[in-house]
């Protein structure tokens, strides 16, 4: 009995040692892959950052209004953000390759899924970036237009433009990521419908005078009876 227990323990220990001996090289491979991956990812980050600085990407980003967005979100500069994103994407890829080298059952499938998902993630992030830039640009354009044409509530108009574009961007991003397609579509339709209805009611009820003034100025600029016309100044 005692011998049997000793034998079993010995066999189990030997089995464990064999398993560990088989696992150890894989673990080392994984660590090497992760380490080499870190170095490669770091080099990629460094090259990308240098390239972006060379082409003055931060200045381009400032001009497009992206820098203000990043500042508002307490994020680093555009160059730093893109470089860091490239670093983490590359390193995460290496980590997953390393983990798959461990030979853990089912892990391979997750790694494959990640690499299939990666391009969609990239596209979704590009959508998000462009969408937020467009929201910032067009909301500012609406604000300036409203101020320079003496429209009432310029900031309301500007915010409406920003919300509409942001909602549209969010729906495009979720669509690209394939996250809860039908729920997001439904939510988007409800939000857009609500915004449109709200605007229609707001403009319909609150903007009657504005619409009348606008149409009068546009199509019937002649002076009214008894009203003296002011002299216009030419700026140039």
């Amino acid at each position: 009995m005692r011998e049997m227990i000793v034998n079993e323990l010995t066999q189990a220990t030997q089995e464990l040692v064999r398993e560990f001996a088989r696992f150890l090289p894989r673990l080392m491979v994984m660590l090497i892959v992760v380490l080499v991956g870190w170095v490669i990812a770091y080099v990629v980050k460094w090259i990308l950052r240098s390239f972006l600085r060379l082409i003055k990407f931060d200045k381009l980003s400032e001009g497009a209004g992206a820098t203000q967005l990043l500042n508002k979100a307490a994020l680093p500069s555009s160059t730093e953000l893109v470089s860091r994103f490239a670093f983490w994407t590359a390193w995460l890829g290496f980590i997953l390759v390393g983990v798959s080298a461990l030979g853990i059952l089912g892990m391979q499938e997750y790694v494959t899924r990640f690499f299939v998902f990666l391009p969609r993630l990239l596209v979704a992030l590009i959508f998000l970036f462009i969408g937020l830039l467009a929201a910032s640009f067009f909301s500012r354009a609406a604000l300036l237009w409203a101020v320079n044409t003496n429209m009432p509530s310029p900031r309301l108009l500007s915010s409406a433009a920003r919300v509409l574009i942001t909602v549209f961007t969010a729906s495009a991003v979720f669509e690209e990521l394939g996250l809860a397609d039908s729920t997001m579509l439904l939510a988007f339709a409800i939000v857009l419908g609500a915004v449109m209805l709200g605007l229609a009611i707001a403009f319909g009820l609150g903007g009657q005078d504005l619409a009348r003034r606008f149409l009068e100025a546009r199509f019937a600029p002649e002076k009214k009876e008894g009203q003296e016309r002011e002299d216009e100044l030419s700026p140039l």
């Binding site: 640009f137 300036l144 900031r155 002299d231 140039l236």
Partner: protein
């Protein structure tokens, strides 16, 4: 060759028929049927009266008018002038009218006229606005003669205008162009001007044509190009400036054409303007700038209201353009009553310089920078109108001169901001 790329086949065919010419008058048009006939007839009268021995040509570059503008130009024939006994053509007076490619754009029209001038090897070329209904035959002489005689390369106009007409010109375009480039050109953005054949070739070789200023704001870009190229400048008094209906003269569009082009020009000319500390007068032919004083009904309250709401509503935009002291000073004066309000020379000059620096650094879209200046300009215009309500022409001119000197004095602050962080 520049002309090969810009001139359409129809234009080339007509120009080849002309051969060579001594003087050329260009008229850029787009739907100007209401006024162009009279303008072209006056140009013809001017050419026949003052340049009877020279080979002359009128070039109408049209942007695709749909209101018979081109027909009116072609129809304004010499026979219309036969009632005048002292007008005798000793040489053929050619008249060309053709549509340029690419749709209506003043810059393209001017480039077409420049290319025509180069192709015809003219000695002197003038550009006349089709809306200048106050034009007289003498304008043609006053524009072309100084260049044709070889004394000057670029002649800008001086007008008689109401003291409150051209406020943007008096409060920004003229003083800033003068401070930047050191030449006292009163009308750097002119509807009428003239230049030599040599300068036409110089203009065509500039890089402006590949930028936005090559389409809109080209007039001021050409003036700056003539200054920076070291050409001989003069100003010639023409007469009464025609009053353009201000409803059509949209302020934001006017700012894009002038301020946008002026700010843009600072980029390639930094080494030139950053070293200039003062300004030189430009020879003036005929009378100087004249003002008329008849009373006008102007809605000053609206100007002030738009300034005040602009400062309040655009706060997030202005924060990214102006320095904190300038913005807080603007916010302080915008809270004042109309009676106490004063947008003084120093603050206005600092505002414009900070806008110029922000345009250079592209802190936001450059077009948005220019648009954001419009409400602030309204505040400055309000102050100008109030300060000069009772002023005589001389007193107002003195105030403009004082502001110009303030701009020159504060210019180092722009140089400082140019390369530094805000």
């Amino acid at each position: 060759m520049a002309e090969e790329s810009i001139l359409t086949d129809e234009f080339l065919r007509q120009l080849i028929n002309v051969g060579e010419a001594d003087v050329l008058v260009g008229v850029p048009t787009y739907n100007n049927a209401a006024t162009v006939g009279q303008v072209v007839q006056t140009i013809r009268a001017g050419l026949l009266k003052y340049f009877p021995r020279e080979r002359a040509v009128i070039v109408n570059a049209d942007g695709g008018s749909r209101d018979q503008t081109s027909d009116l130009v072609r129809g304004a024939s010499i026979s219309d002038l036969q009632h005048s006994t002292d007008l005798n053509a000793l040489r053929t007076l050619h008249s060309i009218s053709a549509e340029y490619a690419g749709g209506p754009a003043t810059g393209t029209a001017l480039r077409t006229i420049l290319a025509s001038a180069e192709l015809l090897r003219v000695s002197a070329c003038a550009v006349v606005s089709p809306e200048s209904t106050t034009i007289a035959p003498e304008w043609i002489e006053r524009l072309l003669r100084p260049v044709y005689q070889g004394n000057f390369d670029f002649v800008t106009p001086l007008y008689r205008r109401h003291k409150f007409d051209g406020l943007l010109m008096r409060n920004l375009v003229y003083p800033m162009t003068r401070a930047f480039y050191g030449k006292q050109v009163r009308e750097p953005y002119a509807a009428e001007f003239s230049f030599s054949g040599q300068l036409a070739s110089h203009f065509l070789a500039q890089e402006i044509w590949t930028h936005e200023v090559g389409h809109t704001g080209t007039e001021i870009a050409l003036t700056i190009s003539a200054i920076t190229g070291g050409f001989r400048l003069a100003q010639s008094f023409l007469g009464v400036k025609p009053h353009v209906d201000a409803r059509a003269a949209d302020l934001v569009a006017a700012m894009r054409q002038t301020v946008g082009a002026l700010f843009w020009s600072l980029e390639p000319n930094f080494s030139l303007w950053s070293t200039k500390n003062d300004s030189q007068p430009v020879p003036t032919l005929g009378a100087g700038q004249e003002v008329t004083l008849e009373p006008l009904r102007i809605n000053r309250k609206r100007l002030f209201g738009m300034f005040r709401s602009g400062v309040a509503e655009l706060e997030p935009v202005l924060k990214s353009i102006l320095s904190p002291p300038t913005l807080s000073e603007l916010q302080r004066i915008s809270a004042l009553d109309e009676g106490d309000f004063l947008y003084g020379d120093d603050l206005w000059a600092r505002t414009v310089y900070e806008f110029a620096a922000s345009y250079h650094k592209a802190v936001i879209s450059r077009d948005h920078v220019v648009q954001a200046l419009a409400p602030l300009y309204r505040g400055r215009a309000f102050t100008f109108l109030v300060e000069n309500r009772e002023a005589s022409g001389e007193q107002m001119e003195q105030k403009v001169e004082d502001f110009c000197l303030t701009c020159e004095r504060l210019k180092p602050s722009l140089v400082e901001q140019w390369n530094g962080r805000k």
